[in-house]
Amino acid sequence: MSETATPILEVRGLRSGYGGVTVLKGLDMDVGNEVFAVLGANGAGKTTLLATLARLIPLQGGTIRFRGNEVSGLPAFETAGRGVGYVPQEKGVFADLSVFENLCVGGMIGQRDRDERMAEVFGLFPDLAALRTQLAGTLSGGESRMLACGRALMQDPKLLLLDEPTAGLSPLYVDMFFEKVREIRATRGVSIILAEQNATKALAVADRVMVLSLGEAFLTEETGSLTTEKLKQGYRI
């Protein structure tokens, strides 16, 4: 770990999947106060990993410790209450609710004043302020991702799980989003796990990287020491 010796998240022997299928096959990882990128080809298990960490998928084995406490057996809502913010790749907003209400739902937990938190989100994503009464289901792809991210930030998370936040977005939005990841990290000091397909952009903002391959950690190292050759091996190309 680059910036702190005490990991905020410790994962040991993590096994999970869907029904009888095991996707993650005994994963170990430690995440500190940093941006931790998770790369890998389609089907490598990135989305499964983040959904499992958010406790939306039951564990098949292994343990998850968050801020020193075992959270493996906790339901999703209690894990969120302890400071894990999750931004899913798809369906990340409540389509029937307005932008304002989506942020309110995110702000139902957290200690600070809701309006103060919402002002910070609108400061980070000014476009959302202008759309506050609009239904989330009518937003563009980029606006939806901003809202999903803003809604997770309303929880005042200690760890933010971002699942391919730029998938399917135009290059303009992609650049903007990675800039926002930097800004969130710089201004809030929140730890971030960023699952991404866009390796170049992800490596530019991350401190460390893990490359997943067929549900196993192919490598975990500092971004500066990752070579193209190793990355290609992880992607099996």
Binding site: L56, F77, V105, R132, T133, L135, Q155
Partner: protein, 316 residues
């Protein structure tokens, strides 16, 4: 009070409109906001009706009306609420199909219990002995007053639903209905939320069932036919399941049209009343449902408009 000018059928017609509107409003909270398709409405309605009836008629209370009546009606409401907790706990984590079958099965079980538990319910022969907790002079006057009281209760339900739409709880229900895993990941105990919703709405359905039983004065299992659930469901979908007034508009257009206009003002042959009219009623409701789903799937009033609500609340 001289009420000769008032047709008894009209009182019953309006009473049915009021009760089904109340059921539709409670169903709106389940289906319109939280997207829970409860096909067992009449089961909770029946629990309230029979709990009240059995306690009122079979138990030897140390006090008389109105306290006996009020205690029994409160107990009927509570019993329906508790049955809602049990059913909600059983179906809360199931998908839409599971909820549909589970709630329908519950309503069927209540119907069978009302038919077979003859010692308690009188079985298919029914159970009499219920009466209004007052006497204001004549059957018709008592029924009219009971209609007004029931309308006031349903008015209270309208107010509750209106408040829910504007409260964080209503927002949470929409969030749970819209995307439950996401709501869970945001720290919301969604199962508990659905359980509480089931408890409150089922209690309301039970209260309406008890009030319906009072108006009938004679409880029969045939009061618990699936037509009650269908009337509430069809009216709600027809009016607009996501809108506060959807159920009321739908009930006026369906039950109102049939039970008031057709039965009281159209020259229908007398022999139709026992067999043909009930069948025609169900066929007409079914046809209305199909047409609405084909041509206006969000109902006559349309889909939920949280954006408009937000603009009206926040003034932008």
């Amino acid at each position: 009070m001289n009420l000769d000018w008032l047709d008894a059928f009209l009182i019953y017609g309006f009473f049915t409109i009021v009760v089904v509107s109340g059921l539709g409003l409670l169903l709106h909270l389940q289906l319109g906001l939280a997207r829970i398709a409860n096909f067992g409405v009449v089961g909770f309605f029946g629990i309230g009706m029979y709990s009240f009836g059995v306690l009122y008629v079979k138990v030897d209370w140390p006090f008389g009306d109105p306290w006996q009546f009020l205690v029994c009606i409160a107990a009927g409401t509570l019993a329906a609420g508790l049955s809602g907790v049990v059913v909600g706990w059983l179906v809360g984590d199931l998908n839409e199909d599971g909820v549909l079958v589970g709630t329908l099965g519950f309503a069927t079980a209540v119907f069978i219990l009302a038919t077979t538990e003859k010692e308690l319910t009188g079985g298919a022969q029914g159970m009499g002995g219920l009466q209004f907790p007052y006497d204001v002079g004549g059957v018709k006057a008592n029924e009219l007053l009971w209609l007004v009281i029931t309308a006031a209760v349903v008015g209270g339900i309208v107010f509750y639903v209106w408040r829910v739409h504007r409260s964080p709880y209503g927002r949470l229900l929409v969030a749970v209905g819209s995307n439950e895993p996401l709501a869970r990941s945001l720290g919301k105990p969604t199962f508990r939320t659905k359980l509480w919703l089931f408890a409150v709405t089922s209690a309301g359905m039970g209260l309406l069932g008890a009030m319906y039983g009072v108006m009938e004065r004679f409880l029969r299992p045939t009061n618990l036919g699936v037509d009650i659930t269908l009337a509430a469901m069809v009216a709600l979908v027809l009016g607009g399941s996501a809108r506060v007034w959807g159920a009321v508009v739908g009930v006026v257009l369906t039950v109102g049209f049939f039970d008031i206009i057709v039965q009281n003002y159209l020259p229908v042959p007398v022999e139709w009343y026992s067999q043909a009219l009930p069948v025609m009623r169900e066929a007409l409701f079914g046809a209305a449902l199909i047409l609405v789903l084909m041509f206006r799937p969000f109902g006559i009033l349309g889909d939920m408009r949280r954006d408009k609500l937000m603009r009206s609340l926040h003034g932008d």
